[in-house]
């Protein structure tokens, strides 16, 4: 019974890891296909970062997302990659929550333009964060690579 439960757990963790990785790769890819300034405007609309940092962030975050997504999908450097994904999602979620609570009618910027921050986007990103935290916790507890 314990063995069966472990297999189920491993399957769930594998699914979360692949889905989360795919979401990161897709999010990065969508931004890379468009001019960096389009994502830059989304970052700027949060009013969290001075303008001089917007361009470096808009140019690097999408690549960062793609690399992290691929590491998750292929299960490499799991302790570091899951922790980095959790931290990234925690920052994104906090920024979105702040904008939502301040009634800022802005785009999330998560998957390109046209995705306004709403309860739905918060639920979506909150779920991703929960999944990432679970992966991080499991990776840090496990002495060896996960499934």
């Amino acid at each position: 019974m314990d063995f069966y439960q472990n297999r189920v757990l491993r399957g769930i963790l594998l699914a979360i890891r692949v889905v989360l990785g795919a979401v990161f790769v897709y999010g990065g890819y969508v931004k890379l296909r468009l001019p960096w300034a389009l994502f830059g405007m989304a970052i700027d609309s949060y009013h969290l970062v001075p303008l001089r940092y917007v361009e470096p962030l808009a140019r690097t975050i999408p690549w960062f997302e793609v690399v992290l997504g691929l590491l998750l999908i292929f299960g490499r450097f799991m302790r570091i990659s899951t922790a980095a994904v959790s931290l990234t999602l925690a920052i994104f979620f906090a920024a979105m929550l702040r904008a939502f609570l301040n009634h800022q009618q802005i785009d999330c910027g998560c998957f390109g333009p046209g995705d306004p921050i709403s309860k739905w986007t918060l639920l979506r990103d909150g779920s991703l964060l929960a999944g990432a935290l679970l992966l991080t916790w499991t990776a840090l507890r496990s002495p060896r690579r996960m499934a």
């Binding site: 468009l34 001019p35 405007m41 609309s45 303008l51 917007v54 333009p113 046209g114």
Partner: protein, 199 residues
């Protein structure tokens, strides 16, 4: 002189506008690689800032040079402070019918704080339309069912496109539409537009 002529030609509302565009409210060449629609309201202070500060920069750098086709879209707001919004759009769209949209739009934004409070929208519009014949045409056309239907159609287009705040700019490149954040930084907007232009 040559540059001035080119600028004037580009600034003229284009005769060959695409069917879904009110040519009287558009600036630039319809064949430009980028189309930008601006959903705005004459009673909205942010729209006024965009019209007075960002629009001249866009005109100089992108419209006159044939890179951008700029289309004004009506998005009349409702509620306190916006009581005369529809009336203002009535005059503006009517003015577009006789090729005087830009003059009327300029005046409506310049004196926004006056007419939006006292409701004397016509005083503002008639002051810029000096010719009595033009004044009569605009006054009559402002009640024309076609004009009112155009305002409503553009408003509904905005609502269906998820627009709930003004000004909202929507950029169309290669058939794909990209709604932009409200009141973006001009340097970022310029970088984005340049990024969309063919290399």
């Amino acid at each position: 002189m040559k540059l001035y002529t080119i600028a004037l030609v580009a600034l003229l509302p284009c005769l060959a506008a695409t069917p879904d565009v009110d040519k009287g409210k558009a600036l630039g060449l319809p064949t430009a690689p980028i189309r930008m629609e601006i959903f705005s309201d004459f009673t909205c202070p942010h729209c006024r800032a965009l019209h007075e500060e960002m629009l001249p920069l866009l005109m100089k750098e992108f419209v006159v040079t044939g890179k951008l086709y700029l289309v004004d879209r009506a998005f009349p707001l409702t509620g306190p402070g916006h009581e005369y919004s529809r009336e203002a759009f009535g005059y503006a769209v009517a003015a577009a019918r006789i090729g005087k949209y830009q003059e009327v739009a300029d005046a409506l934004y310049t004196y926004q704080q006056v007419w939006a409070k006292d409701g004397n929208v016509w005083d503002c519009v008639s002051a810029v339309l000096k010719n009595p014949a033009d004044q009569k045409k605009v006054k009559d056309l402002s009640k024309d069912p076609g004009v009112l239907a155009e305002i409503e159609a553009e408003y509904q287009e905005g609502v269906q496109g998820g627009i709930n705040v003004t000004p909202t700019m929507v950029v169309t490149v290669g058939g794909k539409r990209f709604p932009l954040p409200t009141a973006p930084n001009y340097e970022l907007l310029r970088s984005m537009l340049n990024g969309f232009l063919p290399k």
